[in-house]
């Protein structure tokens, strides 16, 4: 890839393509992008395109030009995302959307860890609220609560130093030896490997518990006894 092209990132969205430009001069980027489109006309033809222009300030004529140039190539521009209010205004004037749905980074996080050893853990020092989903290819330790509606999916063990009231899936890639521990184990659902257990009744006086798959292949929780 040449130096100019590296300014431009292209990603697939649920409903089209998202092209991200940066703050380099607009004309330079426009020409570079169109060159990239012309190099792979089949890939782009018929695409619905959302354009993220960072903080570029764009006026009506600039966006109209680009929209025309794209539509000549069979591409429909439907959204322009920008940090600049002027550009947002312009986009709205042209009837373009100014937001596309992409997952919020904080709410759903997937971590990629290469060369994963057995001992890799993610430590989260906060309460996971409803709608949060944590996926991790190792162990997960939460120093806080896991509220109803929050989900943790880990390939290793999950330890909650707090109240577990959401959903936890340990050993998500099939590790039947994975365990789930919590100071108060009152989850909406627990899963270890392929085993699923539905809500346990909340306890009056919660004690630390550990859940694992027993000899009969069933999910079982027992009180934690030191030693």
């Amino acid at each position: 890839m040449t130096g100019t092209n590296s300014l431009i990132q292209i990603k697939g969205l649920r409903d089209g393509l998202l092209v991200s430009l940066d703050d380099a001069p607009w004309d330079e980027q426009r020409i570079a992008f169109l060159a990239q489109v012309d190099a792979q006309p089949d890939f782009f033809k018929g695409a619905r395109l959302a354009l993220d222009v960072a903080s570029q300030v764009l006026h009506v004529n600039e966006l109209v030009d680009l929209r025309d140039q794209l539509s000549e190539r069979g591409i429909s521009l439907w959204a322009v995302i920008s940090e600049s209010p002027t550009t947002e205004n312009t986009a709205q004037l042209l009837g373009l959307a100014t937001r596309v749905s992409k997952p919020r980074p904080e709410e759903s996080r997937q971590f990629s860890v290469r060369d994963l050893g057995d001992e890799t853990a993610l430590f989260l020092e906060r309460t996971l609220r409803s709608g949060t989903r944590i996926e991790f290819p190792g162990h997960v330790v939460v120093f806080g609560d896991v509220n109803p509606g929050a989900e943790i999916v880990a390939e290793g063990n999950v330890i909650i130093w707090g109240r577990l009231r959401g959903m936890v899936h340990a050993g998500s890639k099939g590790n039947k030896n994975a365990v789930i521990c919590a100071l108060d184990l009152s989850p909406t659902q627990l899963r270890i490997a392929e085993e699923v257990a539905a809500a346990l009744n909340p306890q009056e006086n919660p004690k630390p518990e550990i859940a694992r798959i027993n000899e009969n292949g069933k999910l079982q929780a027992e009180f934690w006894s030191p030693g």
Binding site: P85, T98, R99, E107, G131, G149
Partner: protein
């Protein structure tokens, strides 16, 4: 001092966002503050009805944003309180007519001239919600003591944390002390236990709220209503006063209440 910009939101619909905005606005304005409330529920506007200003709307928020009128022209002065204004939502448009940066610009123009800007958020966590919180300095999350409403409040608080909107403050609305006593309703402690945020007010269930909303005169005007008192207390807390929480437990016989007062039970 520039205005405090406060958004009231909930996630779930029907828990009392609009009622809370109307009552807080009335309580703040009758206490001498200059208040503007903005109805952020474009397409489903209600705040004008609850404030009883529906028939005075000429211009709305989308007219301001799209430049069809000046900001002042869209601000409707309250019937009773001269320092209370409403910027109504557009009824014939949708949430996409406004962007978060539009809201920021609009609120920026109000900041220097008023003490409080209250923004009423639509239900949900989509565009309208994002618009409503964009300009907020402070967010009040309102919930009912019901599992589903609390779940949605938790989700919203999580989003606010992710957006760095600072710690949310919680209003528990429509608490029924008699039901709580029979363990048929979540108590304020149950709700706080899950949400773990600062509590700024508990509003008891009160039929006067519905009656006064229908009349277009928020219950905060009514000196006898307990819900009105609760909203007035929240308003004072927003101004930084320390106000003790209401004693809502008015059930039981007179004798039991006297005993409780005397600290014997």
């Amino acid at each position: 001092m520039p205005a405090q910009v406060i958004t009231v939101t909930s996630g779930k619909g029907g828990v009392g966002k609009t009622t809370a905005v109307a009552n807080l606005a009335v309580a703040l304005a009758s206490n001498g503050s200059k208040v503007v409330c903005i109805d952020g529920d474009i397409g489903l506007r209600n705040l004008d009805v609850i404030l009883g200003l529906e028939n005075r709307i000429v211009y709305d928020i989308v007219d301001v944003i799209e430049g069809r009128c000046r900001l002042k022209q869209a601000m409707i002065r309250d019937k009773k309180l001269p320092e209370l204004y409403l910027i109504p939502a557009a009824q014939t448009r949708d949430k996409n007519s406004v962007s978060p940066s539009d809201m920021n610009r609009l609120v920026k123009d109000l900041r220097n001239d008023y003490d409080f800007v209250l923004i009423d958020s639509p239900a949900g966590i989509e565009r309208g919600f994002r618009n409503a919180i964009a300009a907020a300095d402070r967010v009040l999350v309102i919930t009912n003591p019901e599992v589903s409403a609390v779940r949605d409040a938790d989700r919203v608080i999580g989003i606010l944390e992710a957006e760095d909107k600072g710690p949310a403050a919680l209003i528990i609305n429509r608490l029924n002390p008699a039901l709580v006593k029979k363990s048929d309703m979540l108590s304020a402690d149950d709700v706080l236990d899950l949400l773990a945020v600062e509590l700024i007010g508990i509003v008891p269930e009160d039929e006067n709220v519905i009656i006064s909303s229908n009349r277009g005169a928020p219950v905060a005007h009514d000196p006898k209503s307990k819900a009105g008192q609760a909203f007035r207390n929240i308003a004072r807390r927003l101004k930084g006063e320390k106000v003790p929480f209401l004693d809502l437990d008015s059930s039981g016989s007179l004798w039991e209440r006297l005993q409780r007062l005397a600290g014997r039970k």
